[in-house]
Amino acid sequence: MLEVSGLTKRFGGLLAVADVSLRVPEGGIVALVGPNGAGKTTLFAMVSGFIAPDSGSVAFAGEEITGLPPHLICAKGLVRTFQVVQPFGRLSVCENIAVGAHLHLAGRKEALERAREVAEKVGMGPLLDRRAQALTVAGRKRLELARALATAPRLLLLDEVMAGLNPTEMGAMIDVVKAIRDMGVTVFLIEHVMQAVASLAERVYVLNQGRLIADGAPGEIARTPAVIEAYLGHGAAARMVAQAVEASR
C-alpha cells in the first residue's frame, strides 16, 4: 500500500530523516515509534506532501506520489491527522467532518449526511452541534480522526492520537482504530504509548535520530538492544543484560 524508499530530509545542519525505507502492507496496522525528535512527524509530513523530501521516493498503491501537494495526495486516498490537533474551531463538529466528506461529495446535504454517519462511527454522535473549540482533548482527537475518515481514505496516517488521553479514553480510541482497520482502511500510526502500539500494530518501525534502527513485531523490538539504547541511553542494553545475569546468579 505504502512504499517509502531512501527518504531523506535536512533542516540546515540537522539530518531530520536519513535514508528511511519502509513498507506498509494493505489492510494492516503498522506503527512508527521512536524518542522525541526522532523525525517521525517529519517523515509523515513528507509522505503526506506537506514537506518536500531532499531525496528518496514515496509510492502509494503502486503510484509515485513524491512531491505532490497534500490535497492531491489526499484525493488519492492517503490522509493524515496532526499530532497537535487542528480543529476548525468555530465550526460545529458536523461541519468539521463535512469538510472531509466534501472531498468526494459536492452537495452540501450529502456531505452533512455523510458527516453524521462518520461521527456515529467514532462515537461523536451526541456532539454533532458542538463547536469544535468547546471539545475536550479526547473529543478533539476523535474529531481529527473523524474528519480524516470522512475523506474515505485507503491509508490513514495517525500522528499520536493517544497522546493526552486517560486510560479509559485510550481504551476507547484503541477500539475505534481497530474498527477503522476492520472497515478495510490501512493504518500507519506514530505512537509513544507502548501499550497502544502492542495492542494495535502488527509491525513496528523504530526511528532514532532520523534513522531506522529496528523493525519487527512489537514483542521483538522491545528486546532489541539498539531500541533499548535509543530510549534509555548509551550502554543501557549492556547494563540491563548485566543486571539480568546478576539477578539470575
Partner: protein, 319 residues
C-alpha cells in the same frame, strides 16, 4: 420563520420609496444598499475565507472606470457596462489573487499587498490619459432607463436593491455550497484544510474573483449614480475602509451582517455629520474609531450580538 421574515423584508424594501418620498432619505438608502452589497462582496473573501483585504478599492475603482471608459469611449450601453465592470473586477481579483496566494501571503501581508495594489492603481489612474488623469471622467447626461440614468432617485434605488439581493444571494448560496464549506475551513485552519484534500489556492482564488466581480459591479453603479469618477474616489483608501467596515460591524461570515452593518455605519455617519458638521477627513477618523470599538468589544459584529442575545433568551425560556 426565516423565509417569512425575508419575504416581509422584501415587500417593505419594494414599498419603501412610496412610503418615505424624501429625496434625501432615498439617497441615504441607496448608499446603504450599495455598501451592503459591496460589504457582502468583501465578506466572501474576508468573512468566509478569512483573507482580510484593505484594498477593495482596486475592484471598485476598476469597475467604475471600466464602465465609464467603455461608455464614453466606445459607446457601450451602461447596462452592459455593469457586466463589463463585473468582469473587470473579477480579472483584477484573478491577478491580485494569483500573485499573492501563489506566494502564500496571509494575514497582514495579504492586507498590505491589497492596499498596495489599490494605491498603485490610484497613481496610475492619476497619470494615465484614458482615465482622464486627476480631472476624472464625466459620464454625459442622457436620462433614460435604457441608458441606466433615471430622473429621480427611485430608479437608482431599485437597481441598488437588485444589486443587494444579488450580492446577499451569493452569500446565501455560498453558505450552502462546497466552496463555502472549504473557505470557512481555510479561514479556521489552512493546514488542516489542505490535509483534508482542499486545494486552498484554487478556493481562495475563486473567492477573490467572486468578491472582485461583485465589488466591480458596485463601482459601475457608483459611476452611473454620480456620473463622475476620479482617482481619489475610485481607488482611494476611503472606499476600501468603508467596504471592509460594513461586514466587520454587521458580522463577518454572515448573510445579513453586511446589510445590518451598512445601515448602522451610514446611520451613525449621518448622525455624526449632523452633530459635528462635515469637515474633510472627519469620516475617516469616525471609521477608525468605530473599527477599534468593534474589534475590541464586538469581534463577532452585531449579528454575533443578536445571536448571543437570542441564545440567552432561549436559555431563560428553557429554565
Amino acid at each position: 420563520m426565516a423565509r417569512l421574515g425575508i419575504a416581509g423584508g422584501m415587500i417593505v424594501a419594494l414599498a419603501v420609496p412610496y412610503l418615505i418620498r424624501s429625496d434625501f432619505w432615498l439617497g441615504f438608502l441607496i448608499t446603504v444598499l450599495l455598501f451592503a452589497a459591496m460589504g457582502m462582496a468583501w465578506n466572501v473573501l474576508g468573512g468566509y475565507a478569512g483573507q482580510f483585504s484593505f484594498g477593495h478599492a482596486a475592484f471598485f475603482g476598476t469597475g467604475a472606470y471600466a464602465s465609464a471608459i467603455l461608455h464614453i469611449g466606445f459607446g457601450l450601453n451602461p447596462w452592459l457596462g455593469l457586466a463589463a465592470a463585473a468582469v473587470a473586477g473579477g480579472l483584477v481579483g484573478l491577478v491580485i489573487g494569483t500573485l499573492s496566494f501563489r506566494y502564500g501571503l496571509r494575514g497582514s501581508y495579504f492586507a498590505l499587498i491589497t492596499l498596495a495594489f489599490a494605491e498603485v492603481l490610484r497613481i496610475l489612474a492619476n497619470t494615465a490619459e484614458f482615465t482622464g488623469g486627476g480631472v476624472g471622467l464625466y459620464v454625459p447626461l442622457k436620462v433614460g432607463v435604457a441608458n441606466l440614468q433615471f430622473e429621480s432617485k427611485l430608479g437608482y434605488y431599485y437597481v441598488a436593491l437588485g444589486f443587494t439581493v444579488l450580492s446577499l444571494g451569493v452569500g446565501w448560496a455560498l453558505e450552502r455550497s462546497r466552496l463555502g464549506a472549504r473557505l470557512m475551513a481555510i479561514r479556521e485552519n489552512e493546514d488542516a484544510a489542505r490535509a483534508l484534500g482542499v486545494d486552498t489556492f484554487m478556493c481562495k482564488l475563486q473567492a477573490i474573483v467572486i468578491s472582485g466581480a461583485l465589488t466591480g459591479l458596485g463601482g459601475a453603479f457608483y459611476t452611473q449614480y454620480y456620473l463622475y469618477i476620479d482617482p481619489g474616489i475610485a481607488y482611494g483608501p476611503g472606499v476600501s475602509v468603508e467596504i471592509l467596515l460594513v461586514p466587520i460591524i454587521g458580522g463577518l461570515g454572515t448573510v445579513f451582517g453586511p446589510l445590518l452593518g451598512s445601515a448602522v455605519l451610514h446611520g451613525a455617519g449621518e448622525l455624526a455629520r449632523r452633530l459635528v458638521g462635515d469637515a474633510p477627513g472627519l469620516s475617516l477618523i469616525f471609521y477608525g474609531a468605530l473599527l477599534v470599538i468593534m474589534v475590541r468589544f464586538l469581534p463577532e459584529g452585531l449579528m454575533g450580538l443578536v445571536w448571543r442575545l437570542s441564545r440567552r433568551r432561549e436559555r431563560a425560556a428553557n429554565a
